[in-house]
Amino acid sequence: MNTSHYCPHTPEEIQEMLAAIGVSSVEELFAPIPAALRCSTFNLPVGMSEFETYAKLQAVAADNSQNLSLFIGGGFYDHIIPAAVDHLSGRAEFYTAYTPYQPECSQGTLQALFEYQTAICRLTGLDVSNASLYDGATGLAEAALMAMRATNRTKVVVDGCVSPIARKVLATYLSNQDAELVELPPLDGLLNREELAKQLDANTAAVLVQYPNVFGAVEDFSGLADQAHAAGALLVTAVYPVALGILKSPGDLGADIAVGDGQSLGNPLSFGGPSFGFIAAKKSHIRNMPGRIVGETVDKNGKRGFVLTLQAREQHIKRHKATSNICSNQSLCALRGLIFLAAIGKQGLADLARLNRDKAEYAKARLAELPGVAVLQTAPTFNEFTISLPKPAEAVVAALLDKGIAAGMPLGQFYVGSENMLVVTVTEKRSKKEIDQLVKALEVALCN
């Protein structure tokens, strides 16, 4: 039998085990499956050694353009990841464990998640956090559902400046719920407050905004929470956690719920996943939170310890009445987020945020000097901004890809009439030299 990887038994052991069970072959154990239902098996190829398999994966990896100079973001950001993040999240005790159902032998995961929740609370300026959601986009949808539960209302108003992908996920999540989703078209790349006022009514559960928004703008949301609250609605803010190193926190803004994608905190781009979603809220909403929550308690001797708590919200207890169906979350990615924040540190995150903005402002100023190029935003931006080009952005981006530069995300695919618009992202990893090369290459592309 021992023809395969990771199946340990010798033929002798298999015979011993079969004898103990009282059958004469492994096949007999499959007798409960009626013969008529049995398959003639499947057609996967023959297995390989680890060496050959890894070589094959190296070839697969090599068949991608992984060395582009990245000026794209759109929710996934090319940030530095300290080496310690990989080494520590690579501790087998972390990554080969599962959900800490048995707290006494899982204090490592539990304490780390408690520390993660604390980091998220402090970053967002809110009171409570869960132990992670799948990603920022599903987090936004969960926040909308949470707000609906909290307010017992069914209307969700989302700013059209929120990431288009996240809005699609939101729409999909709400599509079969008893819910009404209203999207506010952007006004000059900002929230249309007049339209919002019209949509705030007695059935409005939540207003969903994002900062920096999809165009890169860091909007002044002063008064927005009051406006929502006056109508009995909650304010939900989607945030970019690195930007929170310097930007006003959701808590500062009076938001009730904050969500975001944690990829930028120590998780590699990895073609879009795994990442993690975070969600934080005012304390009063804790029982409406989706997902796992770790809480502090004591043991029989009064010693501090940590457990999964408020499980009565969850699917394994509450089944169809649970606050969400989520079971496995993105625990290891959240741990990476915590390690990243601990490695960079309090002042470090602020510095990192400033460094991003410095690089982006430099790029913005340089690009604005090019003939025919204009910066969209009048609002301040963080590490992402939108420029309009004198020709279709798609063509320009294609031309720069040939030079190894991913110059930005063309907006035309998301907003009608934005065919000449390009969102450019500049993280701390982009050197001045790379930025100058982008500017030069764009100049050439615009001349052609």
Binding site: S4, C7, M17, A20, V26, I33, T41, L44, V46, G47, M48, A61, D63, N64, I72, A84, L88, Y95, T96, Y98, Q102, P103, E104, C105, S106, Q107, G108, A112, T118, A119, L123, S132, T138, V169, S175, V218, D220, P268, S270, F271, G272, P274, R292, G295, T297, K300, V307, I317, H320, S324, C333, L335, K346, D351, R357, D358, E361, V397, L401, K432
Partner: protein, 481 residues
């Protein structure tokens, strides 16, 4: 152990950042800036590394302990999978959506496409979406597909049928798609009660969600009949792939009437569980459901031989997540699958079932076995015998912790009193199982001889038994600054 915040020292710096090579920008307006710097840890790198290294040492894990947590398939996580996944770390997902972008990620798209094909083949489905980020997310995606199917056909459907042995995620996922739940009790023989099922079925049922083998570890021999009945009402059959590890190469969900199936890559295909995730829950569907699959979808262009990306489709349910799902997890599953190959995966299921039946046979004299027939990959005992002495399943669990074993799943499935659900997986050796069996028998004996001794357990861990009520009452879920 102190919290990392308790170890922080004001003003201490961790990892250094690059020095800026561009001019400093003018400050943002004050009204956009946060009032105070977020109270993150302030640690030296060594202190930070020591903190997390020591935290890790407070966990049981597959690499340190036998971890027979039923329904979770805690098999060995091959180390090469980690290396393989790291190969793709720098690939930005938007690359694929730039003009001509598919051309720039043929490797990644091809891997996803091949993974989908292999999963379709194993499950007997026609196409697979890799977008769902975990099992429950796959369930929700699957139910969205079911809803879209009925909507397109003009069917008026209101209910989803689940057996009472199902995972809690099944009804919860159906509820997220707006369905009401009809729960069918389990018959004395351990399968969903067939008669009650028949009575429950009607034209208003959108789907029947089944785990097969179910959470009792039993394969339902009437599954085809159930599917036929469901289809006669134009209800779709949903297969919860949580227990796929039991049946690879033996039976394919698609062949016995299932229309939608999700697969937990982190269970059957050996990707690590990460202390709670990330998982990955690709969903396979029969042809009739392909038009509703979420976007983006990867299409193999027969003419060019290249992979292309479809981003829009009027019937699509939309998007259930960013991009293509938990890509890094899929790299691991793909690596696992091509490494084991056809024969290897069949052997996985065979030895998973062998191990569970061995465990069943060796322990059935010591623990109550509510369902005695041949099991598949896991076996469910009850501590009801021990309960007579005042020893609960949770007490047995704590006994095991002190002996260096991660406990089996306890109190699930809900329909078994004092359930103890053991899933050894195929990667455990006989010696490990024999040692565990011995300790389980020791627990049974001690429950007879000295039932009071269990209350103090565990004693070998950094903490003794924790007060869960207090946690729920105090709601202390973060550390105030």
């Amino acid at each position: 152990m102190q919290l990392i915040y308790e170890k922080s020292v004001s003003g201490r710096r961790g990892v250094m950042l690059p020095v800026s090579d561009v001019p400093a920008a003018t400050d943002l307006p004050q009204n956009l800036l946060r009032s105070e710097t977020a109270g993150l840890p302030e640690m030296s790198e060594l202190d930070m590394v020591r903190h997390f290294t020591n935290l890790s040492r407070r966990n049981f894990s597959v690499d340190t302990n036998f971890y027979p947590l039923g329904s979770c398939t805690m098999k060995y996580n091959a180390k090469v999978l980690e290396n393989a996944s790291n190969l793709f770390a720098p690939l930005h997902p938007l690359t694929a959506f730039l003009p001509g972008g598919a051309e720039l990620c043929q490797g990644a798209l091809g891997m996803l496409y091949d993974l989908g094909q292999m999963l379709a083949d194993i499950t007997g489905m026609d196409e697979v979406t890799t977008q769902p980020l975990a099992g429950a997310h796959g369930e929700m995606t699957g139910m969205l597909l079911v809803a879209a199917y009925h909507k397109a056909k003009g069917n008026k459907k209101k209910y989803v049928v689940v057996p009472d042995s199902s995972h809690g995620t099944n009804p919860a996922s159906a509820a997220m798609v707006g369905y009401e739940i009809i729960t069918i009790p389990t018959a004395p023989y351990g399968d969903m009660d067939l008669e009650l099922f028949k009575q429950a079925m009607s034209g208003e049922v959108a789907a029947v969600m089944m785990t097969c083998p179910n959470t009792l570890g039993l394969f339902n021999p009437h599954i085809k009949e159930i599917a036929d009945i469901a289809h006669s009402h134009d209800a779709l059959m949903y297969y919860d792939g949580a227990n796929l590890n039991a049946i690879m190469g033996k039976v394919r969900p698609g062949d016995v009437g299932f229309d939608v199936v999700h697969v937990n890559l982190h269970k059957t295909f050996g990707t690590p569980h990460g202390g709670g995730g990330p998982g990955s829950g690709p969903v396979g569907v029969k042809k009739s459901l392909i038009p509703f699959l979420p976007m983006p979808r990867i299409i193999h262009d027969e003419v060019s031989g290249k992979l292309q990306i479809q981003t829009d489709n009027p019937l699509s349910i939309g998007r259930t997540a960013n991009f293509f799902g938990n890509f890094g997890v899929m790299v691991k599953a793909y690596t696992y699958m091509i490494m084991l190959g056809r024969e290897g995966l069949i052997q996985v299921s065979e030895q998973a079932v062998l191990n569970a039946n061995y465990m069943k046979e060796k322990l059935k004299d010591w623990f109550d076995l509510p369902y005695t027939q041949t099991c598949m990959h896991e076996v469910v005992f009850s501590a009801s015998k021990q309960l007579a002495q005042g020893v609960h399943a949770i007490d047995i669990a704590k006994f095991l912790i002190d002996k260096g074993y991660h406990p089996p799943t306890v109190y699930f499935p809900l329909i078994v009193k004092e359930a103890i659900m053991i899933e050894p997986t195929e990667t455990e050796s006989k010696a490990t199982m024999d040692a565990f069996i011995e300790v389980m028998i020791e627990a049974a004996k001690q429950a007879e001889a000295d039932p009071d001794s269990f209350a103090a357990m565990p004693v070998t861990m950094p903490v003794t038994r924790l007060d869960e009520t207090r946690a729920a009452r105090s709601q202390t879920v973060c550390c105030l600054g």
